[in-house]
Symmetry: C2
């Protein structure tokens, strides 16, 4: 199976995931495990909060974004993890029943100075709802393996 290397990413390139419908049950299950604030657990408490009605933990949005980008994108790449996250912004609440997609846009690429076998790709990750509105953005610069020189030669010299 062909795998994306660092060389395969260019600024402006976009990957978009399949849609996924988020249920009330999974929102509550995640919140109970990791972010047990009443506004993520209980409809009545959420109505009295800034959210206005039940909505997912922001951490749940991050984790769903990661999972949706894993399937069909990260799993098809020589992905080597990231040293951290540059920024997350939660723009709109994620409500039960919403159908979301994840989008990854390449912002820039740079080779690693200390590890010549790796390169960084800076991405804007977005979680988008069924109306096209962006619910959250995440900026991150993961590492990918660079294509071995032998492979590059094979691409250039057919036969």
């Amino acid at each position: 199976m062909p795998q994306r290397h660092w060389e395969d990413f260019t600024p402006g390139g976009v990957f978009e995931s399949e849609p996924r419908r988020v249920t009330r049950e999974e929102i509550i299950e995640f919140a109970a495990a990791f972010d047990p604030q009443p506004m993520h657990l209980d409809e009545e408490a959420a109505r009295a909060s800034m959210l206005g009605s039940l909505a997912a933990s922001g951490w749940h949005s991050c984790c769903l974004l990661m999972r949706m980008l894993s399937d069909g994108f990260i799993s098809q790449s020589r992905f080597m993890g990231a040293p951290g996250i540059e920024e997350v912004r939660w723009l709109k609440p994620l409500r039960p029943g919403e159908s979301i997609r994840a989008r990854a846009t390449v912002l820039e690429t740079r080779p690693s100075r200390s590890r010549p076998e790796l390169g960084f790709v800076k991405f804007l990750f977005e979680l988008v709802d069924s109306s096209g509105a962006c619910l959250m953005t995440l900026t991150v610069s993961p590492m990918f393996a660079r294509r071995p020189a032998a492979d590059a030669t094979r691409d250039e010299v057919p036969g």
Copy 2:
């Protein structure tokens, strides 16, 4: 039950959570749900990776940090959520069997300009292992409710 308001946070203030032991089973369960990379799922795959042996997803570390700060800290505060995350840095892998603690240090506080009933508190959150080594840091500026004026008077004028 007394609840911390924005006025109760001062730069340098520290909260530290109870310890929590992280099991191999929960590392694999989280990764299967949200970050199904082989190095978070399978010991042999992890040995062949940069991690050297099985380690938790960085997202799992974030979620454990959130949960450990919820119990006894966020739940005891007039916490109103955060507009986003300023930075995450993953410094060392989180291994199965490790006993971790979460630490929150107040960096600065500022009132909200647009919403006088709220204030921001900028924190450094850290996930610390049993040897005291810091596994990850997270910088975030959540909002807290400000103490109503009537309460402030009550604190200042006893009787």
